[in-house]
Each structure stands twice: as C-alpha cells, then as structure tokens.
Symmetry: C3
C-alpha cells in the first residue's frame, strides 16, 4: 500500500500537496461515527488533510447527499478524494465504489449517491472496490464508512491507483432524478426542484445556459414568477423571486421566509421556464 | 500570487508553520456552503490548515458573530487569518475587507462584524479588497464567502501582503454596541449585556480592570447581584451570581439554569456596577 | 517545552507524522469555546492536526463522553492525543490528567471520563498534571479546556514526556458503570445498557467473546429477543432485534424506530443473555 511520488503525479495530485479527503455523511455529529472514520483515515495515511463537508445530511436522504456533493466538489483542488456515505444498504450486496471524475475521486456505496457527478462529469470512470486488503480488519457489516470507505480513500490518497482496488464497471446505480431538465422545446424548459435548502430556497435543475432571453417566466404550481434578481438583498419586498444561485442553478426564494412553504412544494416538484426573444414577451 | 519566505516573515507568520485559516459563519452545517468555502481555500493554498470556529452564528446576527470572534481570536498564533462571514448585504455595494490587527488578519464584509477587533486592537489597519485577480471567477453575487473571502484569505496565507488587495481605509462600518462601557464615574460603571450564550449566561462588557474594589454590586433590571464567584460549581444554590468569565468579561449566571430567562433580559440590557473602597460598602 | 525527535520516537509517535490531537467535548458548536481551544493548541504546536470527534456530548454527561471516546479512539494511529473535556468540576480541586494507554494519550479531568479506557487498556499509566509551566497564563478557573488541557496536549504532541507534567497516580476516579458485565455463570451474562445513540439503538456491555452459542436470547424488561441479525437492513420487519454493533458490543435495535422508546428503557437498564449449546435451546 506504499505510494511513490510518480504514482501521485500520474493520478493527478500535485506532488507537493498534502492530499485532501472530504467527508459527507448522514452520521450526525453527536455520536462516535465521525471520529471513528477520521481515525481510520489517519491510521492509513497520517498525512491526509480531512475536510468535513457535512455530517447532517437527513438520514438516508440520497438526493440531498447527491446535491450537496455536486454543489461543493468542484471548488476543491485536483486530486481531492470525496468520501460520501449515506448508506441504507450497508452490509448487503451493494457495491463499494471509487469514481474517478474531473481530476478528483469519489468513494462511497453504489446506491445513486454519485448520480449528479456522473451527469456532470461525462468522462468519469467507475471501479467496483473488491480488494479486501485495503479494508480495515475485521470489516464490520454495519459500519463500512469506517471499515471500507475510509481506509480505501486513505490508500487512494497515498497514491494507490483506482484500478488496483477492483474492476471497472459501467452499470452504476443512478437516482431517478437528473440534472438535465426532461423537456426542452422552443425555449420552454420543463425542470424540477432538485433540492430545498434549510432556508426553504428551492433549487431547480435549470442552468444558465438554458436561458436565452432576458424576458423569462418561471411557473411553479401555476404561479408565475417573473421577478429575476441578481442578489438576495436587491429589494426588500416579500414576494417570491428567482435568482441564479451559487450552485449554478435557478433558485426560487423569498426575503426572510421559506419559498418552499410559501409555494407548498417539495423536492421533485415540476417547474416550467418560458421565455421569448426580447420585446416579444407577450407572445411567450 | 506566489509567496516568498521573506514575505511570510514580514507579515508576521512564522516561517516553518503551516498557515492557519479559521472560519466563522452563519452558514449552518447542513448545506454545501461550508464545504464549498473549504475547497475554495484549498484550491488556492493546499497548505492551509483550516479550523472551524463555528458555522452556527444565528442567521445574520452580526453582534453574535463579532462577540464570538472577539472571544476566540486571541488564542490563535500570530499570522492566523480569520474569515468571518455573516453577510446580509452580499451582492450589494458593501466592501470586502482585510483587517490587519494584533499580528493576525481578518477577512470579511464591511458591516460591523469586526467592531470588537477595532475596539480591542487600536493600531489595526484596514484594507478595502478591490483586486479582482484574487477572486474566484466568475464571482457570484450570492456567495462571496466562496468567491471572494475564501480565495482572498488563501492568497493572504501564501504571503501576499494586505496592501496588494486594495487601498487602506479608515471609515469602517461599526456596530452601535461597543466594548467600552459608556459611563464610568466614581467607580460606578454603566455597562451592557453584549452576548447571551446558549446556556443563558449573560456576558457584559465590564472588564476586570474596571473593578477597583472587592465589594461590588451588579444591578440588572433593579435586581442587585453581589454574589461574586470564582468558578461555576463553587456552591450549588440556585441564585444568580456574577463571575469573571473565560472571555475576560463579567458574566451573570445561575446554576443549572438560564440567567437570561431568570432575569428576563436580552442582549443590550443595561447593567450597572457599583463599588466602594473596602469597608465602606454601605456608602456605595 | 521544546521537543526532540528522539522523544517523539520514544513516546510512540512516528517520526514523520504530524501529531494528531482529537477533541471530544460538551461545548456545543454555537459558542466560541471550540475555537478558543483550537487556537490554544495551535499556539503551542502549529504542526498539530486537530480532529473533532464531537462537541455535542449532552452537557455534563460523563457516561456518554466515556462511551464515545471508547468507541472511537482505537481507530486512530499510535501517538494520537485525545483531549476529552466534559468537566462539571472545572475550577474545583479535581485533578487534570494525562493517561498513557494503548500507545495513545488521553488528556482531561479526573472525573471518570476515562473509565472505559482504564477498563480496556489494563496497562495504562496515569499522571496528575501539576506543572503549571505547560498551562496558558493566566489560567482561568472556568475554562480549563482552553487554559490547561489544550496547551498540555499540545506540549505532549511536541514530545514532552508524560512524566514531565506531574506525578504518576493510581487512584483515578471511575464511573460506577463498567465494561465488564457483573454476572457471568453457565453462559448466562448479566449486562447493562451502557449507551443509547441518537437513533435509539441500545448498546450493551456484552462483547462477542461472551457468546459461546449460536442459540442465544437477550432478555430486557422481561421481553425476550432472539432475533440476531448480521446487518441492519437484513429484513424489513418492525420487531426488535439484536445485532453486533460497530463498537464491538451487542446492540438492540428496531428498523426505522427507536429501540429505547419501544422498550421504554434508559441507560443503565439490565440485560440478560442466556445461551445453551447447539440443539439444547429448550433447556436454556
């Protein structure tokens, strides 16, 4: 399990950098789980720099985990290893995975948690982790975060190549939700709310490249929203507005309140963007 | 954006130390915001050591953020860079700042969040960050924590000098609250409750140097408190008591309960310290 | 307070590793306490790698802290220093301790928080920290986490030997609870619930070596549980089941619910394991 500098370079990590391993789980921060995972990483690679993304994903909420990972991974440097463990199937036959994508690595269960990474990084490679020599022993059936994903990530951070952990696969499990709005025709985009944050902001899967017109209207539950703002505090009214959020998606928000509650919507709700060329808004 | 060892020394950081960047925000720990900020820092300076102070400042509560920063910054080593982001004005014209004070640096919005640092470190220098080459691109209008403050702090940690980020200013925005009790006369001190912690302890802005007598009484809402203790568990009664808290201020507490609820007070409440020379308490 | 490489080696830390210091407290993550402790560590040893285990131990709950430490420490590498501060007696005469056990170190108050470490690591050595030169000055009477335990741990991480901090002692304070089930006779084990996690899973002090039979029954509040599972999702029924948990103890759980609420039990409740040789279950 030793690493050579050359390996480090060929896997895309900068030679002089301490390797970064991020953690994204639904373990909560009250119990011993997060501590045990950190120890398991540092026991294999004491040089690893561990960065908590969150441990407060709602229990077993794969969509929330997938979105949170999507919205944070791209700011990290090349070579970063993201350990994402929301794992209702722990102990069953579901596969442990390493995904190599966008010069970064992702380690976690094959249950759809990496769906948006697959969507975003089309040239990704996925490996089914089968090489038990990289596991903690004895590996439990109840805590793969500590016994499989942590030591695998730590070995990866030492320069072990992804293919050393097991065979390449292409039939990864995916969530039903997708980053690509299903219907796009004549500037009309049929999207969905893919995430609701803790403030009640509704994040859609509509990206800026789908907008070809300044005069656009968003329709949610038959309610039209044509108030597009460039920042949250732009005016102080209490009406709903649309804003290009920091994760790169069109969001629906309301000042000092919850857009989700105001609209009465949940994740998965359809949103429709209509738009027309400048000056032709009435025909939209 | 490269740094030389000489620069590191001249800016007060020890040559052999990894630079420490602390984070203090109201982002919460559920969403992707904290992860995105950490990645943005590590992408600019993978050597940075990131230390979370808290991400649980009550949303947009600048006074709480200012106090929490005041109470923790001084334990950190010289050269530490504190990123403090409670930023209701994100996207508007409010200025991004670097404050150089007490051999440390502070990076955040110009909205008063550094008020107590200005009070405590009278010889501080403040810079208005205007050099966009140190920003993440494209910089959003909604998440300056990730796009401005994180990369600016990371560049600072690499040895870029504060003046390279923009012009020096002296008209920083300040909170109305102050660390200096407004009225001081004949041993009588008119202070305020500047913070209430999660246990309901009421922290005043009265510091130990203002006490010149062992026989002192604190008056809050016309209730006199003359029970001064040296540690929390000193006796087990349930009455209110005063104690020199670990942040260096006089606090009002009650065993196993909330002093704030017992007194019915909120932050900002006036407190009056009266004192007299030893043996002359009756004349106080 | 300087350290030599030789010292580092003789105290069991790997020469090339950055020293790991973990934190386990009941400070919460809202206030400035955690930040102040991190700063106090980094001021003494800027090379220290700080890993948060948890700061969400229920206030003053020593049993919960002791269990959480037990369940996480062993995954960390040799030389790790665990700072555990749940400290209702701060400021009183209770002693500050360093415990050397299992090639790791434990720093905290002498109030029983290390009970399970003493149980598990029979050849531990304990030192009463009296050398004030390793404290932060002036040391407060209210925040020994910052002023005593943090700088002591940081000095330890620089290679100062435990005996330099004070005399060896053997009369450590212990909790009443114990990792060893009190009654063991003819395969019958009288154990206790020593922890209830945030999901309501009930962790007993029964370890796998006490089970000599596949046909075992667990009795809690006169309710027999003989459904032993190997992983949580093994079947989807809603009945109570027993499982060997990831901390190495027999746990009582229920799918999608709280075993503690279902059973109406609290920490400390007696559990009785009965077992018989294969094929002789009826005589158990």
């Amino acid at each position: 399990v030793t690493a050579k500098g050359e390996d480090l370079k060929t896997t895309g990590r900068g030679g002089n950098h301490l390797p970064v391993i991020t953690l994204l789980t639904d373990f909560g921060t009250v119990d011993y789980f997060v501590g045990a995972v950190k120890g398991a990483i540092l026991s294999v690679n004491p040089q690893a720099v561990i960065a908590d993304i969150t441990h407060e994903v709602p229990p077993q909420d794969l969509e929330a985990a997938a979105f949170t990972l999507l919205a944070s991974y791209a700011t990290f440097p090349p070579g970063t290893i993201h350990v994402a463990v929301v794992d209702p199937g722990v102990g069953s036959k579901r596969r442990p995975l390493i995904v190599s994508a966008g010069k970064q690595f992702f380690v976690g269960p094959d249950n759809g948690i990496f769906t948006y990474i697959y969507d975003r990084e089309s040239s990704h490679q996925t490996f089914h982790v089968t090489a038990e020599k990289y596991f903690r022993h004895p590996a439990s059936t109840t805590f793969h975060g500590r016994d499989i994903f942590a030591p695998v990530a730590a070995s990866l951070s030492k320069g072990v190549k992804p293919k050393a952990f097991g065979p390449s696969i292409t039939d990864e499990v995916r969530l039903e939700t997708s980053l690509t709005p299903v219907g796009q025709k004549d500037g009309r985009v049929e999207g969905r709310i893919i995430h609701i944050d803790r403030f009640g902001n509704c994040i859609t899967n509509i990206t800026r490249d789908l907008l070809n017109d300044e005069h656009a209207t968003l329709l949610v539950r038959e309610k039209p929203i044509d108030n597009f703002r460039s920042f949250y505090g732009e005016n102080s009214g209490s009406e709903l507005f649309a804003i290009w959020g920091s994760a790169g998606f069109l969001e629906i928000a309301v000042n000092g309140g919850s857009a989700a509650l105001t609209l009465g919507v949940k994740r998965g709700e359809a949103v429709i963007l209509t738009q027309s060329r400048k000056g032709a808004k009435e025909s939209a």
